[in-house]
């Protein structure tokens, strides 16, 4: 007589799985990579490939040494590798992304328990370490190949806006949106990043809460406080498209492990990121504050998750019960 398998319900599961989610993030990041290759040349691709290889290699090595199942096929290390490369200047020496990836995977991810256990976005934490250790390599920018400008003196639009580190004329907004500007490998083209972001939203990999709250807060705050001619004169549109805001808001602040679980919590995180970013951009020591704002909000995430919990169904006040 045939015996059937017995297990506890439910008996069907959705087709969505971790590798597919990570692969979707990789796919969404491709357009920005293509733009980088056109704007900065093959070196941008080379840096990205190196970074991914180092990230995947580090993950495999640590898991082999720790005698754990090797999970490089879940694409999560690939995502970290791409994001790290996208957050460095195309002029960095080859060993910068390699060290960065080793730090991201080894120190920030695996040392804390691997996938889902990292309390900070691995790529951003590694970037912060790189920026502290090798500030000059990390902030030597390259102009787009289409412009005939000296690399040593080239400045990013945000640095020009800030006016402390560099002076010069801002590139037109159109160039900032399409990506014909200087900056980190993956952050320059807002258009390409938004294309990928739309894909992530359609595939339901991310929800709108963090990015919209983040970008909305930056827009509102820079409009209010960012102008030189008093309140409500800031160039908030330029603040959205120049710099790493789009990359950070859609691809990094939304990292599952280091962002809140509830939608309300995610909204709070987005607003927090936006506030810190604006403070750093307008009043801090750096021209750009996206990565630090995300790392800081990553640290606050457990606190948000502790206090912003969904209200349990049926948990009603006594007088509401028979409304």
């Amino acid at each position: 007589m045939q015996m059937y398998t017995v297990s506890s319900s439910p008996h069907i599961v959705s087709r969505q799985n971790t590798p597919r989610i990570m692969l979707d993030v990789c796919i969404a990041l491709i357009p920005a990579g293509i733009v980088a290759a056109f704007v900065f040349g093959p070196r941008a691709v080379w840096i990205t490939v190196l970074s991914v290889a180092a990230a995947v290699g580090t993950e495999a090595l640590i898991q082999i040494i720790a005698k754990k199942p090797v999970t490089i096929k879940d694409f999560s290390a690939v995502v970290t590798g791409i994001l790290l490369a996208y957050n460095v200047s195309p002029t960095v020496p080859w060993w910068i992304p390699v060290i960065g990836s080793v730090v991201a995977i080894g120190l920030v991810k695996q040392a804390f328990g691997g996938l889902g256990r990292n309390f900070m976005n691995p790529a951003l934490a590694a970037r912060a370490i790189l920026l502290t250790a090798w500030p000059s390599q990390m902030t030597t920018w390259a102009p787009p190949m289409s412009q005939n400008v000296d690399a040593v003196t080239y400045a990013t639009p945000l640095a020009i806006m800030k006016g402390t580190e560099a002076t010069g004329t801002l590139p037109p907004l159109r160039d900032a949106i399409l990506g014909n500007i200087g900056g980190c490998i993956g952050e320059i083209s807002a258009a390409a990043l938004l294309l990928g972001a739309a894909y992530l939203l359609i595939r339901k990999v991310i929800t709108w809460h963090i990015p919209v709250a983040f970008i909305g807060t930056v827009a509102l705050m820079t409009w209010m406080l960012g102008g030189k001619d008093g309140l409500f004169t800031g160039d908030w549109i330029y603040h959205i498209f120049a710099g790493g805001l789009i990359l950070g808001a859609f691809y990094m602040a939304t990292d599952y492990s280091s962002s809140p679980m509830t939608r309300r919590g995610q909204f709070i995180m987005g607003v927090g990121c936006g506030l810190i970013t604006t403070l750093i951009r307008l009043y801090g020591g750096y021209p750009e504050g996206v990565s630090y704002s995300i790392i800081l909000m990553n640290i606050v995430t457990p606190l948000i998750d502790k206090y912003v919990r969904p209200r349990k169904y049926g948990e009603v006040k006594a007088d509401e019960k028979c409304a």
Binding site: Y4, S9, H11, I12
Partner: protein, 444 residues
Amino acid sequence: MKRHTFKGGSHPPHEKHYTEDKAIVKANVPDLVHIPMSQHIGAPCLPTVKPGDHVRMGELIGKPAGYVSAPIHASVSGTVKAVAPRVHPNGGEVMTVTIENDGQDERDTSFNSMDWRRQEPKALQERITAAGIVGLGGASFPTHVKLAPPEGKQIDTIILNGAECEPYLTADHRLMLEHPQDVLTGLQILMKQMGVDRGYIGIEDNKRDAYEIMNIAAQEMESIRILSMKTKYPQGAEKQLIDAATGRQVPSGGLPMDVGCVVVNVGTAYAITQAVTKGEPLYRRVVTVTGSIVKDPQNLLVRIGTPVNALLEQCGGLSEPAVKALLGGPMMGVAQHTLDVPVIKGTSGVLFLSEKEAALDEEQPCIRCGRCVNACPIHLVPMDIADSAAMDDYDGAQAAGAMDCIECGSCTYVCPAKRHLTQYCRVAKRHLILARKKKEAKKS
């Protein structure tokens, strides 16, 4: 048109196309029926027959052994062959009366037909109790208990559950299409019995035809409204249905009557109509026999006690081997190890899953994506309960709300890391209930 809904939930594929267009047909009546003495939540019945006795169809063969219990009747006429423990669909062995069918369908006449409009509520309640009516949606809670709320609980709304949110199942859908009047009469009987003048029937909007037919049938009835509900699992769960229909939330640990509601399945309403107007106790029900690998999936009107393998035979067998045989739907159904189990009052469907469909992936680490949090219709944080349960920290699981879990399966369904979240919750609940019973036993 307003689409009623609730917060949370998931969207498993409907898979209703196998049987939704197939009219209900009578299942072949087998030579032997096996009728377990436990087909409801509550105390099992005591058999009132012994081997060799002749019984008529509809005759009482099991009498309730407590208030929360429901009598059981013979589904065929014939001779009692055995009264012995036998394999039961909910697991283990249960005292079961086996009757050899004489093929005569000789009816027991202890119940007369009633004109419900002329009956006192008390008489209606007595009939519903005596006819062994239980919730046919799957939980099998004795209906008469719902209809007798304790002193001080005012019921103002009766909701018929026609959501049928479980994938694959179409028994309730077909019942509404083919017998809208009987379903409505059941609701009217309940409203009269409870003295209530507001009745709703909630139907998911993937059953437009049923919504329209019920709407036409209910046109003249001012106190009854048919509500179209967004197709989302688990819309048919009692608390979610009440929320969608009335906006009221059943308090944590409470019952529908705490917010003035009684929820009854449309199949149950149909059975109530049969019991009252035709004097027919509950000895048969509609069962959807389905699955992509079933050759001829059907909606069958089945005598209680019919072995599941007889139903499969009538549906042409399987086109490829099944790995799982479920009683109920894929989200909350109970997996069977053998097809020798009989159909009982709570059997809404028989579903066969192939190896591919039933595949359960290995658990991966949680990536904290929050999908389970957004899918939970009770607004719990399933991953927290699961983490506690996995470490045998049942107090932690309780603090995270484990006892409120309705085990709908949405969290496990949506989890991309393939964690067995619902299953962890279930384990925690069993432990907590056991611990509570032990504590109570110690006290007394």
